[in-house]
C-alpha cells in the first residue's frame, strides 16, 4: 500500500521484478541511481541532450532524465548493468579492445544506445549510426574509438569486414 502522495511502482529492472513506493514526479534517473543504487546510468545535462543517462524502456533507448517514475511503471527497464550476462556483451568487449572510452562517464549511455541501435539494425550505414548516436555526447574520445568499436562489433557479428568507406561510410552526405 503506497503512502499518501506516493505511487506503487512495479517494473522489471534488469530482469528483476522491482517494487517501490515513490513520488510519481520522481525522474527515472533518480529512481535508478538513488533508490536502486544503479549508478551505471549517469546524470550530466539533465535535459536529454547528452545521453549519459540512457536506458532501455521495453527495449527502446530513452533518456532517464526525461522520464518520470509514473511513465515507466509496469515496463521493462534495462540499464548498462543489465546488458552483460555471465560474460561481457560483445559491444562492451569491442569498447574494451578498441578503446571506445576514456573517462568512461558517457560509456554506459553510449553502450545502451548502441545495443538498441544494433539490435534493430545489425549493419548500420554511417548515416544511420550518426542518427542513432546524435543524442550521445563524448568529450574524451573524439568518437574515433567508439566508431572503431562499432565497426569491430559489426565485423565480428557478420563475419565480414566493412571497408573504410563501406557500410559505415555509405551514409556520408554533403551537409
Amino acid at each position: 500500500m503506497a503512502q499518501p502522495g506516493l505511487i506503487y511502482w512495479k517494473s522489471e529492472v534488469n530482469g528483476v521484478e522491482t517494487v517501490l513506493s515513490v513520488s510519481p514526479s520522481l525522474r527515472l534517473i533518480d529512481l535508478l541511481r538513488d533508490k536502486l543504487e544503479l549508478t551505471g546510468p549517469k546524470l550530466s545535462c539533465g535535459i536529454g541532450r547528452c545521453g549519459a543517462c540512457m536506458v532501455l524502456l521495453d527495449g527502446k533507448p530513452v533518456n532517464a532524465c526525461l522520464v518520470m517514475a509514473y511513465q515507466c511503471s509496469g515496463k521493462r527497464i534495462t540499464t548498462v548493468e543489465g546488458i552483460s550476462g555471465q560474460e561481457l556483451h560483445p559491444i562492451q568487449q569491442a569498447f574494451l579492445t578498441e578503446g571506445g572510452f576514456q573517462c568512461g562517464y558517457c560509456t554506459p549511455g553510449m553502450i545502451v544506445t548502441l545495443k538498441a541501435l544494433l539490435d534493430e539494425n545489425p549493419s548500420p550505414s554511417r548515416g544511420e549510426l550518426e542518427a542513432g548516436l546524435c543524442g550521445n555526447l563524448c568529450r574524451c574520445t573524439g568518437y574515433g574509438g567508439i566508431e572503431r568499436a562499432v565497426r569491430q562489433f559489426v565485423k565480428a557479428r557478420s563475419g565480414t569486414e566493412p571497408t573504410t568507406s563501406g557500410e559505415l561510410a555509405a551514409g556520408m552526405d554533403a551537409h
Binding site: 561481457l88 573524439g142 574515433g144 574509438g145 556520408m172
Partner: protein, 761 residues
Amino acid sequence: MRLSKSASDDRWHVRPDGVGKVTGELKYLTDMRLPGMLHGKVLRSPHPHAWILSIRTEKASRLPGVHAVITHEDVPGMNRFGIAFPDQPALCEDRVRYVGDAVAAVAAETEELAEYALGLIEVDYEPLPVIDSPEAGLDPAAPKLHPAGNVLHRTNYKRGDAEEAFSRCAYVVEGTYETPRQMHTYLETEGGLFVPEPHGRLTIYSATQHGFKDRMQLSRILGMPEACIRVVSSPIGGSFGGKDELNVQPYGALLALKSGKPVKMHNTRKESVRAGIKRHPMKIRMKTGIDGEGRIIAHQVRITADTGAYATLGAPVLNFATEHASGPYRIGHVDIEGISVYTNNGVSGEFRGFGGNQVVFAMEGQMDRLAEAAGIDPWQLRHINLRGMGDPGPFAQRIVQTDGARQVWASVAECALWSNRHDRSGRPEEPWLRIGTGAAITMHGAGLGFGIPDPAGGTLRLTADGKIQAAFGYEEFGQGLLASLELMLKDLFCCAAGDLEIVIGDTDRVPHSGSSTASRATSMMWMALQRMKGPFKSRLLGKASELTGLPAERLETGPGGVYEKGGEGPLVTYKEVAAACGEPLSTHTEFHYPTTPDAIMGAHYLYTYAAVCVKVMVNLLTGRVKVLDQYHAVAAGPVINPQGYLGQIEGGSVMALGFTLTEDALMDGGQYVTKNLDTYLIPTLSDIHERFELHAIEELPEGDSFGPRGVGEVGSVALAPAIVSAIHDATGVRIAKLPVSPEKLQRHFARILAGEGEEAS
C-alpha cells in the same frame, strides 16, 4: 609510426579500469552515497556585480530536515581559494563579482529540501555597474573589482628592435584575432561525498587534478591541519583542466563539519556552467613582417585576456600565451605584451592547451597571410622560419633539443592530404560546395615552467601479499594514466598485470608527486620509474638471491616472481620474497620537473611538436564547415600507450573542432546566455569524419634522457588555424574570430555566389 591498433601489436592494451567503465560497475566519486547522508546545495549570486547588504538565514535554518546553513561567518579559516593566487571567496562577505559567486550553502535531508531551503535565504543586494569586457575593465572610470585594480597580470617580452625592423620588411601583415569562452564540458559535473570521520578527520571524495593542492587549500579554509584531511580524487569523469581549481569542495567540507554528517554534492549542468571555469577568451593583435626571402624579421603581439572575476591561473595562462605567441619560429625582433583583465564575466582558468590554442591560432593565421602577400607556399614559408636543432626556445632560453619541429613539418609536407591538395578530382559537383586544405604547426611546452614549484616523485613497494605496488600522487581523469603506468611497470619488471598494484588519487596512500596537469604525468611517472627501477630491482633480486642461493646477476623478474635468466617458471614468488623481507621492500624518489637553466618566469624546457593538415568542405549556402579528413603529426618521443596516445590526439582534436566551429559560452551583461548543452554545442559523431591519421614520431636525439613527452594537450592546439586556412583555400575568406560564424560566412558567400569575387576579409 602510423598510430593504430594494428600497428601497435600487443602494446594496444585493454585498460585496467576498462571493465568497470563498460559495465557501469565503476563508482565515480559522484556515485558514492552513505546511509544518513545529507545533500548540499549552494546559493549563488543572481547579479554579476553587487554589494551584499545583508544575509538572513533564519528561515532556512528553522526548516525541518535542514541540518546546516552556512555563510562566510561559518568559514573558520582563510575565506579565500585559488590555485595560484587565492583571491576567490569560498563564501562572499560583502560583494559578489560574478553570477557563480557563492553566498550561502545548505545541507538537508533531500535534494529538493536543500533547494527549497536556498529559496528561504534572504540576501539584500545593491547592484553595481557590470564590467562585461576587458576593455570596460581598463576604463579608468571603471569600478575596481579587486583592491589592486582590474589588471590581474601583465607580460612583456622584447628581443631586438621590432619597430625598426618593420621598416626593413618586404611584407607586413596585421590582424586581430578573437577566441571564444570555451567550456570544458566534462561529462561528469562537479561533486562528491564529504565525510566527517572519528577523531575530527574529514574525508573528501571529490574530483581534482591535484589532491595535495586541494588538501592544502582546504586546510587553510577549514582551519584544520592538512594531516586531518584525506582527499580521494579518482576516478574522474573528465576534467581537461576544469577541475584543477576547487569547486564544490569548500561547501561540501564546511557543511559536513557543521552538520556532523556525510554530505553529498553534485552540481547540475546549469550550475556547472554558471560556476565553473572556462577557457580565457583572448583578443590578439599581431603585426608580423618578413624580408624578401620570406624570413620573419619582426613580430609584434598584443594579447588581451578576459580572466573573469577571480585570478585562478590567469597569470600563468597569460605567461604561456606570451611564450607561445611566436610559434615554433626563429624571429630576430620580437615585441610582445599581454594583459589579463578582471571582469564580471564568469571565471576563466586552466584549459587543455593553457593559452597556447589562442595565440597559435593567431600566429598561424599570420603565417598564411604573409605567405599570400609574398606569393610563397604557406608550408614553405613555415619551413624557411622553423626553429632547428640547437635553436633556443621562444624566450631565447635554453631548451631540451629535439628535431621535433622539422620532423612534424616534414611529415605534413609528405602526407597525401597535403601533397594532393591541388587535385581537383573527386570534388563535389554542386556549385555551392567547396573543398579546401589547410595546415598549421605548433610547439607546446610541458611542465609548469621556470620559477614555479613543480615537484615529482613516486614510490615502489613489494607488498606483503607479493604485489609490486606503485604509488603516485596523480589522478585518472580518463587520459589513461593507469594504463600507461601498467604498461611501463610491465616493461620494467617483465611481470604480469596481476603482479601489480597501482595506487593513485588518495592523499593518505600516495606520495607528493605534483599535479596531473601540463602534459606532465606520463613524463614524470617514466622519469620516477627510471630512478627507482635500479634500487628496487637490486634489493628484490638480492633478497631472491639469498633465498635461492643463486647470484643476483643470474636472476631476473618475471610473471609471478623471480626467475633464473632464461629459466622456466619462477624460482621464488614475489610473495615468498616479501615474506622473507624483515621490513617491507620499498623505494622512493623525489625530484623536480626539469627546468631551463635560464631564469625566465614560466619559460619551458621540454616541448612537444605537432602539425596538422585538414581537408574541409564548406557549404556556401549554409555557411557550415565540415572537416573531411585530418592528418596529425606529433613528435613526443616514445609511444608508451598507443591506445591512450591516439585517444588523446583524437579527443583533443575534436575538442579543438568545437573550439573552431561551434563552442562559445556566450555572455550578455555578465549573465550566461548559453546555459546547458542544448545551446552550447560540442561535436557529436556526425561532426567528425572517420578519416583521421596520426603519425607519431618517436625518434629522439641520441642520449636524450627525458623519455616520453606528454600528449594530453598538444592535439588540441593546431587544428583551429588549419581549419581556417582550409576555409580560405576553399572560399578565399579569411576568418579571424572563433568560433567560425556560419551567419558571417553566409554574408561573404552571398557575394561569391553573386559572382562578385572571392576575396573578403
